[in-house]
Amino acid sequence: MPRVAVIGAGITKFMRRSLETGKELSYEASTMALDSAGLTLRDIQCVCNGTAPDAFDGLHMKGEYLLDGCGGYGKPYMRSYVGGGTGVFTPIQGWYHVASGLFDTCLVVCEEKMSTCRPHPQGAFLTIFDHTTERPLGPNLLWIFALEMNRYMTTYGINKRDIALVSVKNKKNAMDHPSAQLPMEITVEDVLNSEVMAWPVQRLDVSPTSDGAAAVVLASETVARKLTDKPVWIEGVGWNLDTSYWTDKDLYFPRYVEKAARMAYTMAGIREPKKEINIAEPYDPFDYKELHHLEGLLLCDKGEAPRITADGVTQRTGTMPVCPSGGLLGVGNPIAAAGLMKVCELFWQLRGEAGKRQVPGTPMKGVAQAWGDLMQVGTVVVMGRDKVKPKGTRRGRGPRPRGSAG
């Protein structure tokens, strides 16, 4: 099985973008990713697209619509979909495109445009519930996540103050992210005093809806070695989908995230994730989800995530930085693009190119994770860099490097 590397990444600014279509956002992110890899579209053999519900844009077959913006014209192009988990799943889809040996290069593009959904994207989410048993009740996402947050807090006796620390940390981290939508310096008190949406969820516990796109370029080992001295390897992938009947399970722990994480760690040869993972980018659409997911990712014991957060372990300067990007809480949550943003962040961090966001030391391995559907799906990617800088070779066939990045 060929190893697969990330060799380029690009991301648009996350914000309400009424002037651009989804195609244009996709184009912007794809072009940035290709430029950073020193490639043109001609060097790309296949394209993978990820984008969340069609209902946001009122577009049937949204993947087909985005096709040319993503560079899929005339190429094998496929859209995968796992709800909120899509952003981290699409690079997994790209991984199997390349790891299968069928392709040497793959462009992975995730786009989301939520602002077209008026008056608010929550309206689209009304249609995700079971048409017979749930939809008549008129539930929305804030309600069901409030249930989950409550269950998590009750199980371990966690208070809102512990959880608010995540929001404070991530929004502050986002101050250094040029794409960020909600970078803020706030205090725990600000979170606790913000508007109550559905108890215990308050306004500052939640990530903002957003528009944006992100893209990465994947390459097989042979091609990656020719194009860059700093490939970042996709060392492990995992995904897992739990039952649709979310009302039948205990919400205190995301068992599907654990299963996905174990699949990825096994593939990456990681036995002790707590010690071996240097940076984590877990999915944080709500502040409690970062904690929930740290436990699901086996990066701390069950119920321990609030403690390591309070101890500063997860700060950017801590021993295991979590969401150094600023996460969804700070950078924004254009659903599929937000997941891929996390993979982009690991790429930059592991190459030492994250600028002001760069974590100290020399991180070797990172994990990115997304979550979605009805508290149901976990998608996990483990990425790592080379231990020793390999000598660059420029022999053999393959896409020719262009520009300075080659």
Binding site: H60, K62, Y81, I92, Y96, S100, L241, D242, Y245
Partner: protein, 378 residues
């Protein structure tokens, strides 16, 4: 990759009293039984669906239970089932998966207005304000195809007659019928030159296919059918910038699949084709675009009777979408299942003689220019 299990429900115009979950469960049980496996042995699952056709957003939420796939690697591909097969093949080729199940279904009878949903796939800025009905777009393409290849609407009607006749022998097909050319040519005009009989009607059904790595397939059964080539491609998504006479997506997807299967001469390589016939002319256009004959020659094959079930190169012995009904995203899987039965020699009264190598192709429908191709061999 070997196909070790297929399961499908008979396609029906309506399926009152059965939900999509029950249809999928039915198909899954048949497929697992056919493969001789339990769902817990399967490493990964690939359902294929589009939200708007289901009337549910983030439809992948509702895929795992009826497949026995809870707490397993499951991801949806938003495309025809044949794209799901491509995804499954790639997963197996990584060497990390032995058994992968692909699912797709149609509950078209639940859709109030399928054509209105199709119009929501049009570019919202440039095309949607024009109020283009999907049948109008088909008619426009049919006119262009007929013009470029000197095919007549009567030739296209011949496809309808053939496929509806083939469907009579297929227990899975609800639209079998003994039509005359007159019947087809006299059916009401939908969008000149497209007539009502030229367009496939929808049907309900579910299909599950179990794929296996080479060692697993050899272990599970002696008569595995092998996928030796798979390809998929997209032409321009905008109506204005694509060629309307040739289906370039079929040409590119075919080339990719042929390369993998080592097929140099598609004209002589296949014993039968199971290809898209969403509308009658698409069958002819796809035969040509897939390189099975030269452009403009498909009508001759049809007139000579070569594409009949007993002909030199049977096309759509299942009855195709005209005879089986268009099964939305399950269309490609039903065709693949048919190809497997033909190659296994279990197709009963619709059996094609010496069926050893088949070509399966699907198209994503109006307004897309996206298709997938699989080469299957004994």
């Amino acid at each position: 990759m070997g196909i070790v299990g297929i399961g499908r429900t008979p396609a029906t115009p309506l399926s009152p009293g059965r939900s999509y979950k029950e249809l999928v469960f039915d198909a899954a049980v048949r497929a697992y039984h056919d493969a001789g496996v339990e769902p817990k042995q399967i490493d990964s699952f690939v359902p294929c669906s589009e939200d708007f056709l289901e009337g549910t957003s983030i439809f992948d939420e509702y895929t795992p239970d009826q497949l026995g796939a809870m707490l397993k690697p499951v991801h949806t591909i938003s495309a025809d089932g044949l794209f799901g097969i491509a995804a499954a093949c790639m997963q197996i080729l990584t060497g990390r998966f032995d058994l992968v199940a692909v699912e797709a279904h149609s509950k078209a009878s639940n859709i109030v207005d399928k054509e209105e949903i199709d119009t929501l796939a049009l570019d919202p800025v440039y095309n949607r304000p024009l109020g283009l009905h999907p049948h109008f777009i088909l008619g426009l393409e049919m006119a262009r195809y007929c013009h470029e290849t000197k095919t007549t609407p009567e030739d296209c009607a011949g496809v309808v007659v053939k496929n509806r006749m083939n469907a009579l022998g297929n227990p899975h097909a609800p639209y079998g019928g003994r039509l005359t050319l007159e019947d087809a040519v006299r059916s009401p005009l939908v969008s000149d030159p497209l007539r009502e009989a030229d367009v496939s009607r929808t049907a309900d059904g579910a299909c599950v296919v179990v794929l296996a790595s080479v060692p697993a397939a050899k272990r599970l059964r002696k008569d595995s059918v092998w996928i030796t080539g798979i390809g998929w491609a997209s032409d321009a998504p905008s109506l204005e910038t694509r060629g309307w006479g040739t289906a370039l997506y079929a040409t590119s997807a075919g080339a990719m699949a042929y390369r993998a299967a080592g097929i140099k001469h598609p004209r002589t390589a296949f014993d039968f084709l199971e290809i898209d016939d969403t509308a009658s002319y698409k069958e002819l256009q796809h035969i040509e675009s897939l390189g099975v004959c030269r452009k403009g020659e498909a009508r001759r094959l049809l007139r000579n009777g070569d594409t009949r079930r007993g002909g030199k190169l049977p096309v759509n012995p299942s009855g195709g979408s005209l005879g089986m009904g268009h099964l939305l995203e399950a269309t490609g899987l039903y065709r693949l299942a048919e190809a497997v039965e033909q190659i296994r020699g279990t197709a009963g009264s619709r059996q094609v003689r010496r069926a050893r190598t088949g070509l399966v192709m699907s198209w994503r429908g109006v307004p897309t220019a996206t298709g997938a191709v699989a080469v299957v061999e004994a």
